[in-house]
């Protein structure tokens, strides 16, 4: 994986200014995407995955706003700030204008596939018209060529008899077929990067499998990079090269898929992995993550996961975890420093030098309280 990095997100913060307060949907997220790879962003719903990816295309709408961070696509500055004398942040000169975003980035460099294929296609235009329109807009093709390209792309994604189905309307397609149309739309624009925002969540398992296979084939063929947003670790295992685990607006662990799966560091990642149904485990072992995700308006102090973490200690409520490189201990010899050069990193104070181990487990504190009440009565 020595491919060139094409997208770099650094310290991105996207906040929503609602009546209830500031929703810190994305709160300092950094990751990158290289050529020809599939990068996963995984987490429960509400973790801020979609906001993060929407920020990349700068499609955040009111009351949302990108307030800090850098997003660089090749040599283009999608988001960039500079600090003024009075300490406020203003957009840098190099940052692309909305018009430049539209003409240079959206569609032609970075395309997107949304979650719900039922809602993503305009019901009153034919499928062929919609695919052709986006291809024509984002590539230097004449109307007739764009139409031919659209037909070819529809065939490529496995729509039978695309010439005949070209003038059909979205409601005449099944969910899986519509998602194929959206993939054709994205690939037809020949982008370098495709953001796929939970594209298979709305589909049933069989169709999901077919779509994943299709994407893997096409990704190899066209050499497109993907950011694959999902809440399902199973999908991550199947198609991603690297993965970022998000919790409540932050990335808590990132690294190559093999390391994440076989050398899991963060307790949240552990929980996500345990929630995958697997044939070698019985249903009783299935362990959904306890509790609900706290509000992103007032996230828990220090480590945001401590309210639900089985390993939480008092220190977790006090010390802000740093993002540290954790070694590749795939061979299990206990040497955690052998792979420090690679990019497996996590934000958990267990792996940092802050006296986590001296601290009292939170669970105990809770137990003692209950005990006390019980004694009194």
């Amino acid at each position: 994986m020595s491919n060139e990095t094409i997208l770099e997100v650094d310290g991105l913060k996207t906040h929503f200014y609602t009546e209830q307060g500031v929703v810190r949907a994305v709160d300092g997220v950094s990751f990158d995407v290289r050529e020809r790879e599939i990068v996963g962003i995984v987490g429960e719903s509400g973790a801020g995955k979609s906001v993060a990816t929407t920020s990349i295309l700068r499609l955040i709408e009111e009351p949302g706003q990108i307030v800090d961070g850098e997003i660089t696509y090749r040599d283009l500055t999608i988001v960039g700030f500079e600090e003024q004398d009075d300490g406020t942040l203003t957009p840098r000169e190099a940052m692309l204008s909305n018009r430049e975003m539209r003409d240079q980035v959206r569609g032609n460099e970075i395309a997107i596939i949304f979650q719900d294929p039922m809602e993503s296609l305009n019901p009153v235009y034919s499928v062929g018209h919609q695919v052709t329109e986006f291809i024509e807009l984002n590539r230097e093709l004449s109307g007739g060529d764009a139409r031919q390209e659209a037909i070819d792309m529809l065939r490529e994604v496995g729509i039978p008899e695309p010439e005949n189905r070209f003038d059909d309307y979205p409601h005449e397609f099944s969910g899986g077929m519509r998602q194929r149309v959206l993939i054709a739309m994205a690939l037809g624009c020949r982008p370098t990067l495709i953001i796929a925002d939970e594209p298979t969540t709305a589909l049933d398992v069989t169709v999901e499998g077919q779509i994943l296979d299709l994407v893997k084939d096409l990704q190899t063929k066209y050499g497109t990079s993907f950011i694959w947003v999902t809440h399902d670790m199973g999908i991550v295992a199947e198609i991603c090269d690297r993965v970022n685990v998000m919790y409540l607006g932050e990335i808590v662990e990132q690294g190559p898929v093999d390391d994440i799966f076989h050398d899991t560091k963060h307790p949240y990642t552990q929980k996500l992995l345990e929630s995958i149904p697997r044939p070698d485990r019985t249903v009783t072992e299935l362990d959904p993550i306890a509790g609900t995700m706290p509000s992103a308006i007032n996230p828990p102090r220090a480590c945001r996961f401590h309210t639900r973490c089985p390993d939480a200690r008092v220190a977790c409520t006090e010390v802000e975890p740093r993002f540290v490189a954790v070694g590749n201990d795939a061979d299990g010899d206990g040497d955690e420093h052998e792979g420090e050069h690679n990019d497996h990193r996590t934000a958990c104070i267990k792996y940092d030098d802050v006296g986590y181990w001296d601290s009292v487990p939170l669970e105990k504190v809770g137990d003692r309280d209950i005990q006390y009440v019980g004694d009194r009565s």
């Binding site: 569609g107 395309a111 949304f114 993503s120 305009n122 329109e133 807009l137 984002n138 409601h171 959206l182």
Partner: protein, 332 residues
């Protein structure tokens, strides 16, 4: 082919409704207590024999159900009865009076659509900005104001005070210009528009306001659709999104509302024709009521209701044409 079959089916479905309309109208009008012939011949010296002769001539000596069957049989053949007062067949009268009413109602809808659609789109685009607030206030006043009062105010301002426009009567574009003493077609059309302007605005304001409200909310909804987000994500310019991607699907409720509002517009035409002295169906209705020319009253009511039914069928077909999701099979 399916669209044609759908059309035929809708027309067939309308037949029982039309029969029902005729029945209810017939019942209502024949509920008039007293002897219509006596009322008709009031003030004239007539003997019993003449009354009976007149009754026989109009079939009034027969029982209710027989008269209804006769009337319905006539309707099927396009015979709407005979106007006592005007001494001509009601159907002939209808043909003369239909033109002005249709001209008025259609132009009112054209006015409403031409103003309301752009304003509604603009209001949706600039949601919660001053433009939006102004357009909402206009819409609110529009739905709250009686059309005939708007007519009176328009006459007061533009005809009485400013003297810019005529205060009543229409010039019909299908007539010979010589009939009005105009030089040619061009002047005829010019005068048609000048005369039509005030009644058109008076009748169209309510429609404009209703359509504007629906256009706004429909566009607001449509602009939040995922396929609009997708278009943005593919770099489609905001203007194209507004005019194409969000616009088309947002017009579907407008089509429906135009059909349904035809009812209020036809009712409003009765008032506007009275205010502006336009000799259309509405004014005919009022005149015939005053003259107790009850066959004409029935004729006007049935024809106006039929226009509404036809209008709804036309809008339903347009809807099916614009929205590919409509299945012609099972829904009305």
């Amino acid at each position: 082919m399916t669209l044609l079959r759908y059309t035929i089916r809708r027309i067939l479905q309308a037949i029982p409704v039309l029969i029902g309309i005729s029945f209810i109208t017939f019942v209502l009008v024949n509920a008039l207590p007293g002897d219509p012939v006596a009322i008709m011949l009031e003030g004239q010296e007539v003997d019993q024999e003449t009354i009976e002769a007149v009754e026989r001539r109009y079939g009034l000596d027969r029982p209710f159900h027989e008269r209804f069957v006769t009337y319905m049989l006539g309707l099927i053949q396009g015979d709407l009865g005979y106007s006592f007062h005007r001494d001509m067949p009601v159907s002939t009268l209808m043909w003369i009076r239909l033109g002005p009413t249709l001209l008025l109602v259609i132009s009112a809808f054209v006015f409403a659509l031409v103003t309301a659609v752009p304003l509604g789109v603009l209001a949706a685009k600039r949601r919660n900005e001053p433009t939006d607030h102004v357009s909402r206030i206009i819409a609110l006043i529009g739905v709250s104001t009686p059309s005939f009062w708007i007519g009176i105010m328009l006459i007061l301002i533009f005809a009485v005070w400013l003297g810019w426009l005529p205060s009543g009567r229409l010039v019909y574009p299908w007539r010979d210009p010589a009939h009005y003493g105009f030089d040619g077609r061009l002047e005829l059309y010019y005068q048609t528009i000048r005369h039509l302007l005030l009644p058109m605005v008076a009748l169209g304001t309510l429609q404009m306001a209703t359509i504007m409200r629906i256009e706004r909310s429909s566009m607001v909804e449509s602009l939040q659709e995922e396929y609009v987000q997708l278009a943005r994500a593919y770099g489609v310019p905001e203007r194209t999104i507004l005019r194409k991607h969000a616009f088309r699907s947002a017009q579907l409720p407008i089509i429906t509302i135009v059909g349904l509002n035809l009812s209020t517009a036809l009712g409003g035409a009765v008032l506007i024709e009275t205010v502006f002295e336009i000799n259309g169906m509405g004014r005919l209705l009022i005149q015939s009521i005053q003259q107790l020319d009850y066959q004409v009253v029935m004729g006007v009511t049935i024809v106006l209701a039929t226009i509404f039914v036809i209008g709804v069928i036309i809008t339903d077909i347009s809807y099916a044409y614009v929205d590919p999701r409509v299945s012609y099979g099972d829904r009305d």
